[in-house]
Amino acid sequence: MQTSSSSSLCAIVPLDCILNCSNQLAYPCSFSLGLSRGSRDLKVSRLKAGFWESIRSGLIKNNSTQVIEPPSSTDPQEDEEPLPQEFVLVEKTLPDGTIEQIIFSSGGDVDIYDLQALCDKVGWPRRPLSKLAAALRNSYMVATLHSVKKSASGEELNNEKKLIGMARATSDHAFNATIWDVLVDPSYQGQGLGKALIEKIIRALLQRDIGNITLFADSKVVEFYRNLGFEADPEGIKGMFWYPRF
């Protein structure tokens, strides 16, 4: 496994390389070497290994890694541990020595201008900022991915925090939730970040006992969601739209 990192982000790391490489998956566990020090106040907790294995197996494209489930863990989503609101998902060292962390947060703290810029980047039609803000406020959960760059010594570089992904869910707080607006910055796509976003949201919703998690998928991404556990037209139930304007 190469120890030098390329400038294109790559979170594909076989298990045996974790401790040797500068490309690291930051586990919020005691043995993690990549946890942020300094100004960022991260609430991390030790999640059961099984859950992280399931996330990482999504990030590793060739799946040749041996995943050993701890005997007590069954379905990752059945974990009792509550998901921390914010934690480092991925960490890597760039060629110039700076460290880049991808931080997941379900706190819903989104800069509307950043969000609009991200929507522009993925080619979505413009929506009024005030409505975007209202939609976020009225969402049950807003999950974001930010890229934070630090100097080699660990200081956070100014203005190097970038919104690179988001997904949100609306819900009646009891039975149903619907996931909307899933997006990942094109330059960060293909690394399993979208997958991680969705898996986290699902886990958080299931922990709150919201059992019916739904979404509407463009034909091109139906397969993406199928791989995450979603079924299209279960039992023939079909999504319908009122006079869709497409």
Binding site: S54, S57, V67, D75, Q77, R127, K131, A134, A135, L136, N138, S139, R168, T170, S171, D172, H173, A174, F175, N176, T178, W180, I202, L206, N212, I213, T214, L215, F216, A217, D218, S219, V222, Y225, R226, N227, L228, G229, F230, E231, A232, D233, P234, E235, G236, I237, K238, G239, M240, F241, W242, Y243, P244, R245, F246
Partner: protein, 191 residues
């Protein structure tokens, strides 16, 4: 408000949407949608009231146990009424039909969403004893109207296969442009 049966509007029709609809959602409604929105309800509130059916838009006076029994009567799984209460308290719009004689709910529908862009209509039910007289249609028409008034034009729902034919004449299209409704299932998760 919605055209019933098959309809076709020639693209060069002089039909213009009423001013109020235009102000609420300029250029957001398709031509067909705007035309549909302009029409009155298939059955008016007054007509339904004269037959003893009253439209209610809040959970006030709604007996959740009675509502639950309507859900069960149409085949929904029985749900905890406390949880139903939480769900209704976090629902953007709801509409139920009270049968004056018994004061019981005989039809219901609710919509959740983000209040600006999207809404999903859930729990659409009509008590089997009162099916076939237009209550389901009346409820859907009014829920859609209320959502449109709020400026929400992306209105969706999940339909069981046996009622696709109920929603279609009300203006609902399944899998438009290949968009699929998907539901998460724990047993489907690939390891």
């Amino acid at each position: 408000m919605l055209l019933h049966g098959n309809f076709s509007i020639p693209f060069r029709s002089p039909l213009r949407p009423p001013i109020s609809i235009t102000l609420h959602h300029p250029r957001k409604l398709s031509f067909a949608a705007a035309a549909a929105a302009q029409q009155g309800f298939a059955i008016s509130d007054q007509e339904l009231e004269s037959r003893g059916f009253i439209f209610r838009r809040t959970i006030e006076d709604l007996n959740l146990d009675q509502l639950n029994s309507v859900f069960v009567a149409v085949g929904f799984p029985k749900r905890d009424t406390d949880k139903i209460k939480v769900a209704l308290e976090h629902t953007d719009s709801l509409l139920w039909v009270e049968y004056e004689k018994t004061k019981r709910p005989v039809a219901f529908a609710r919509a959740t969403g983000d209040g600006v862009f999207n809404a999903i209509i859930w729990d659409v039910v009509v008590d089997p004893t009162f099916q076939g007289i237009g209550l389901g249609k009346a409820v859907i028409e009014r829920v859609v109207e209320e959502l449109l008034q709020k400026g929400i034009t992306n209105i969706a729902l999940y339909s069981e296969p046996r009622v696709l034919g109920f929603y279609r004449p009300l203006g609902f299209v399944s899998d438009p442009e290949g968009i699929r409704g998907m539901v998460y299932s724990r047993k489907n998760k690939k390891k």
